[in-house]
Symmetry: D2
Subunit: 346 residues, 4 copies
């Protein structure tokens, strides 16, 4: 019933290994039969895998009840893209394949990456075959310039360019004064996540530079702003929001949907926003009755009708139907009709 | 020695008032002879000034030793721009004019604005004559669309379009799922602050919608993520970083410069970044010696020279000179030479 | 709808005043029609009322939605006991008499006292006619020696000697190295609260000396341990536990009973502990059936029967009946029988 | 450079084992060449060693940079006292003997015990040959009644009866409504620590019953008060206070002396309290000059001379000499004289 640790060699030649820290289940944890997990990807500019962003990051997640893994991926002479991404795919496949044996939930696995490891984690979140269920990106290299600086002359990609409606929820953190990976990396990534309606949370701290890891005094010492160490527990809270909160009674339901609205689904639906649905010509007939009621309500309540519409366009049709008093049945029935209409993205 | 409160009428006709909460100084606070202050701008779509974003926001700042003011600016039929901005200018002038009488530090005054009040606070931070020394922007309306929705047909401006090198440091917070003011408002504002090298901190929380104020249970109830109430103390920590930390011994020195680098000064200087200085032709002669040393060091340490340069370009010349072992005297002397050269922004 | 402040003179001759800070209700706080309150009693050795333990203490409670009052009671030449206690009685009567006008809950009023003000608060909690509903006692003078040191030659009492089953719930905090009021004051007070089954919480911090007030940097500066400022929010959490948690939806139900068990009620009941009931001869006939079942269960489960009894004696009969599977009806019915038997305390 | 884990069998026959979790030093932790450590003693009434109070407790201390050990001591049929204490002595000897190999600081080792393990930890703190340097006692069985209930008929001892001037600093926590180990156990232990001038910190939470371990949701679920999980980080802060704070720059100096005053030293000294020194007849000649100055100052400042003396008696002579302006040299010189006088405890 102790912590079970082991180190698996994934690729001897490239020096790729997976360090596994598995918590007990059952017995004293009667109602926990499986656990969610984190897979940690250390930074180091694809030259090394920094020990300061490896096992030391795992302990707070073990405290919270998550199994933890650290992947030491291909670096230095083996760094050439897509070697590191292939290592990630290998590791994630292996973890999910062992879900039964290791008592883990294969659909509740988050990656946590720092700097170059954050580049790799963001590639996992966007282009990997084996996507994680959430990604935590610490002062991550997300744009092409900085990525290429790590791997000049290779085919390395910029994850910010590959965000789409299938990207997993992301948690970003960095320091404003990062002078290695410019803060625009995290900012532009968020803007793209917003464009595609993906769930995210982000914390940009006033100062702390690059490479502060957990921000714990025993890891980084001094020179970072007081608030930086908060990212660790904040990320655990956020994982609970998007994967479900783990308690002694087992895992709960997520309170945050992975997507903010339905605008990026294959078909239209009541979780699309009002503004989006207004532009879908093929849906106007189906929507006419409810749009009529909404319009009447707006005109009844506001003198500044256009202003009201501006404010309400980002709201989902579901939330508006609830506001105007439509029943759950009405909503479900309209959703059913909308889902017959393909979503034509421009 | 109690809290001194009063309500000043700034404009009877437009129903503009300034609620003042002044803390004692001296005596039991022997070394505090003056205090920093916050000026709170409630939200309400320029239709009302919400009481939930007014005095209730002041108490935590009083706890931290800041005088607090609430401005109820022109709304409803008096909202027409620039009435609210004029109200702000009036209030800030009055506060600074009373600095001696009210025992406040006229150069340590932050604005705190929510939603439409965040629009006004951001206008204060960018275009006002009487700039604040820091701005805290909560789920703020920063782009033109949402601003115009509040005031259709007026000459209202979008603060995001007016950020420049003179903008004051900003602290932003919002919820990812804000369905009134789209999250892009806060994201794009940060991107512009980054472009101009302005100090900022930001916290985008997974969920909480619009209008959560302090997030205290007695204000907002339920339905927001656990981390939201943290913005209050985080903002107080940040004010300490950028204005100086207030203790019983008086106010300390700021640990965060208002600007990340010197790229937006009138003249060149050693706090400009390497990349920026490399592009200033008129400075190459002055810089040649130190650039030579830096180049030698890079070539000595890294095989991937271009990669190293990519990573080092966002660093300030000062930080690089420290790294290569230059003395404070050397740095001061080069700074002196650089400051004779006008900064030609493209 | 601003904070309403006023200062009431309670006794001109003795310089007694009540500073009132009243929060708005209704409107933007639709479901809050009344609020709980705190009455702050500053310290100062009955020589002064320290401003550092007065209004500055109120702000965090205002943040949490409590009305706040500061009583400046009789000190210096007017200190003679029971003048300060009479001032307290006067203030509490006045506050409760104005409950309707001030929108406060007369049965949800806590006192907060520091040092000599903690002595007064503890007297309020134990011997006052107008008991508070909870008491927060900061580095309080609770024993006779220190109390007499403040008021030599007067009839001043030691609240620790007056604790009984009617004492209200208490929250205590102090620093281990207090060299003005020895830490035994807080320790012995807790022991007496425990003896009488009264609810309490306590935090004794490693170091911080005497008189640290809220521990906020702007109040106390340096030299206290990092954890001290936590008492403020911890006390607010505790008030929520014992008075009910205040949210935008109004006040909830307390989760902590004011008494740990029923051993100090006038009559016996199912919330008395097993050990206590075993010693009440007059109740043995009524208890025989359930005691028989409990005994059988213990003998069935444990080989060390006496050890099991030792551990179970502090448990309430109610909790044991639930454990052995008795229905709510059974419990209520036995409670009814027990309540006909007077509780004979030795 | 990963976490090194191993399980050592200390006594095969009695099923005693030591689970070791050793952090890396050097390299990425350049200035940390040795680490402090915690030795965890799970609870379980000497019948079992609960897994919920074992490795799961270690992770937060690993996060803070401490090596961690879990001792599974003699329980069930092997429980007979002093078997568990002998297991502890064995484990602590082994850990200290391996200090060089395991890169740990042999004089910075804390025990952490829960319930019956708290009994064992408190015995370690008071009567063991191999004392720990600090002890963290969670809802610990400290008095004879509860100890005997765990081990009827054995020679088990009550640690509360063995506190003296050599007891190590202690951190205690428990819930007010613990219905297994009555709260008086923790209260009386503190009173004895206070009597002997030992450093301690304590947190008694309003509710949470018995056995809540770290209070993390994934360990205990629900039904405990919100503040309980704070004990973990508070204990880490306290360890930093009494052992020295661990940062990336190595370990700092303790800010809290292990003893509050010098009253329990073998010889008199300037860290004895005024009240204590006043009663040491053999020291009056040496003390007469400084006592004269103190008396003059008191009479000059206070009309209530006896009151002033009452308040000042718990202060150390050192602090009073500083207050009246004596130089460090004067203090050292008097200390030298006092240390020639044996401390005669009544």
């Amino acid at each position: 019933m102790t912590l079970s640790t082991k180190e698996l060699i994934l690729n001897q030649e490239r020096n790729v290994s997976l360090s596994c820290m598995l918590l007990p289940v059952g017995d004293d944890y009667g109602k926990i039969t499986r656990r969610p997990a984190v897979l940690i990807l250390p930074g180091g500019g694809y030259s090394v895998c920094s020990d300061r962003e490896a096992e030391v990051v795992a302990y707070p997640y073990l405290t919270a009840g998550y199994h933890a893994f650290v992947l030491r991926y291909s670096v230095a002479e083996h760094r050439t893209w897509p070697n590191p991404l292939n290592d990630y795919e290998h590791a994630m496949e292996l973890i999910r394949a062992n879900a039964d044996e290791w008592n883990l939930m294969p659909d509740k696995i988050a990656v946590i990456g720092f700097s170059a490891g954050g580049h790799l984690a963001a590639c996992a979140a966007t282009v990997a075959k084996n996507k994680p269920n959430a990604a935590i990106l610490g002062y991550a290299a997300l744009e092409l310039g900085i990525a290429q600086a790590c791997q000049p002359g290779t085919e390395i990609i910029a994850p910010v360019d590959h965000i789409d409606g299938n990207t997993c929820p992301c948690f970003l953190f960095a320091a404003r004064d990062d002078n290695v990976v410019p803060i625009q990396n995290s900012l532009n990534f968020q803007s793209r996540l917003a464009k595609f309606g993906i769930q995210f949370e982000s914390h940009i701290y006033a100062y702390g530079g690059h490479g502060f890891s957990t921000g714990a005094p025993s890891v980084i010492g001094t020179g970072i702003c007081d608030r930086i160490p908060n990212w660790v527990n904040d990320s655990i809270g956020w994982l609970g929001d998007v994967l479900g909160c783990l308690t002694a009674d087992g895992i709960g339901n997520p309170v945050c949907p992975a997507k903010i609205d339905g605008n990026n689904e294959m078909v239209l639906n009541v979780d699309c926003t009002l503004g989006y649905l207004q532009q879908q010509e093929q849906a106007q007939a189906v929507l006419a009755p409810v749009f009529g009621v909404i319009d009447a309500v707006i005109r009844g309540r506001f003198t500044n009708v256009e202003g009201a519409y501006s404010v309400l366009r980002p709201a989902t049709l579901r939330s508006l139907m609830i506001t105007i008093g439509k029943s759950g049945e009405d909503i479900a029935s309209l959703d059913c009709l909308l889902r017959k209409i393909p979503n034509k993205k421009e």
